[in-house]
């Protein structure tokens, strides 16, 4: 079995990483929020509401990034039958779901002042919505099958099928978006942005990533202990 296959080895690694990740997270959040809320200019068009972008875009990025993590974990779990990789997928998915939910929420709160309606069928927002359903499907499949190991591998297959389809979905939604509504709402996230706006965005992106590492390790520890519990209780049953 691989070096990281047993939980004790993983816990040691996690305990080594956690303090550093927390420090980076705290620093990046503090500095990022300072930049985002105070030390960056308002947009000439959107005014102060552009500040919502600083937490909307990182959330959307992390929503996508987390699904990639789930897909890689699923691939490892299926190809090398690695039990911890299986649990990593299960641990990461809820975080991805929260990021996706936040991206949608902040997208709506950003759209309302500008376009007068909360929901705008903008290409990127719609892709994030579809991603939300992919997360729901993955997590529902984990719970649907009674045997944990089978449920994990079934969900892993779904994640791999999903990750192959994500670029196709993204492309088709953007295509559909230009077809029906040429003006795009969220143009403000490309590098074409003024530098003063890029810094808060990147800082908060780092903060979100560090946050992801911290919570993923928390949830991995949780999943490992839950697995141990089911193992121990199955032994109790046989006495």
């Amino acid at each position: 079995m691989h070096r990281f296959a047993n939980p004790a080895e993983f816990n040691r690694l996690a305990d080594a990483i956690l303090p550093w990740a927390k420090v980076v997270m705290a620093a990046a959040f503090l500095y990022g929020l300072y930049l985002a809320l105070y030390a960056s200019p308002a947009d000439y068009q959107q005014g102060e509401s552009v500040r919502i972008m600083y937490i909307h875009v990182p959330a959307a990025w992390m929503a996508m990034f987390t699904y990639m993590v789930v897909a890689v974990a699923s691939f490892t779990a299926l190809v090398w039958r690695h039990p911890l990789a299986l649990l990593a997928g299960k641990a990461a998915a809820p975080i991805g779901l929260v990021f996706t939910g936040l991206a949608l929420l902040t997208g709506m709160l950003w759209g309302k002042p500008m376009w007068g309606t909360y929901w705008v069928w903008d290409g990127r927002l719609t892709s994030v919505l579809v991603l939300f359903f992919l997360y729901l499907g993955y997590m529902a499949l984990w719970r649907a099958l009674d045997e944990e190991d089978k449920a994990g591998r079934a969900a892993s297959i779904l994640a791999l099928v999903g990750v192959v389809n994500i670029p196709i979905i993204k492309f088709s939604v953007d295509w559909w978006n230009t077809l029906h509504q040429p003006a795009s709402v969220m143009r403000m996230d490309g590098p074409s942005m003024p530098v003063e706006m890029l810094w808060p965005l990147l800082t908060l992106a780092v903060a979100y990533k560090a946050y992801f590492v911290v919570v993923l390790l928390y949830r991995m520890k949780l999943e490992i202990n839950l697995r141990k519990l089911s193992v121990l209780s199955s032994l109790e049953v046989q006495g």
Partner: protein, 248 residues
């Protein structure tokens, strides 16, 4: 009669070794047998053929009651409604694609066929598409009339359904295989599969609207075909992997 297998090549076409009358082992024969049996079952009593067709008819006729009978309104949403309902009919009929075999134990036999589970899945998907989806496509012009679809779009309606619906069967098959051991897995399957149907729906309807609006529908069809090809690569392989899980 002497069975003289030594080592059999592990590809689809397993040729007979120079036996005098050994039992033949041809992959095409096996594929055809599975296909024929599934098409037969789809249209036998309790099969999905009639069910999908009647759902398709009834569900589309509901829309005029909902949005009102004005021809302009119906015409504008005709392509979208027909495609969405065809998609749902496909999803409904896929629920039992593997579950029936799983419950009566014949999934074990399917897994033991020399064709291999990927070939078996491909045969069953093709049977589902031919037996359950083609009738819908054949009927779609009638529903086009009901929905006052633009006159020039009928050809494109058929063409886009023909090119796009195989992807629905292929991806839906993966959902069916993943939920084969789940009681009432149909609801879960739709959650797993519907997000993956979005590209097919967008390009499918896009082609029809382009034809109706006298613009070039070719790009839509090209992307629709591309999505189906990707589904063709993923569908049988992922379905076989999922089915192997349920055999353990």
């Amino acid at each position: 009669m002497n069975l003289c297998w030594t080592t059999l090549p592990q590809n689809l076409k397993l040729t007979r070794h120079g036996c005098d009358r050994g039992v033949g082992m041809n992959g095409a024969g096996i594929f055809g047998a599975i296909f024929a049996r599934d098409v037969r079952l789809a249209w036998s009593q309790g099969g999905t053929g009639t069910m999908a067709l009647s759902f398709f008819l009834i569900a589309v006729t509901l829309f005029p009651f909902g949005v009102g009978p004005e021809p302009q309104t119906l015409a504008r949403i005709a392509a979208g409604v027909i495609w969405v309902v065809a998609l749902l009919a496909c999803l409904l009929s896929l629920d039992r694609l593997y579950q029936a075999d799983y419950e009566d134990g014949s999934l074990d036999d399917l897994a033991l066929s020399p064709l291999g589970l990927t070939g078996v899945a491909a045969a069953k998907i093709l049977a589902h598409w031919v037996a359950t989806i083609l009738p819908l496509v054949a009927l779609s012009p009638v529903l086009g009339m009901l929905m006052n679809l633009d006159g020039d779009a009928y050809g494109m309606l058929l063409l886009s359904l023909l090119i796009g619906t195989p992807a629905l069967s292929l991806i839906g098959s993966v959902g069916a295989a993943l939920t084969v051991s789940v009681r009432r897995g149909g609801v879960l399957m739709s959650l797993l599969v519907l997000p993956l149907y979005v590209p097919t729906l967008i390009f499918g309807v896009g082609a029809i609207d382009a034809a109706a609006g006298m613009t070039d529908a070719l790009p839509h069809l090209a992307f629709l075909g591309a999505v189906t090809l990707v589904a063709l690569v993923i569908g049988p392989v992922a379905s076989a992997a999922a089915l192997r899980l349920s055999l353990e």
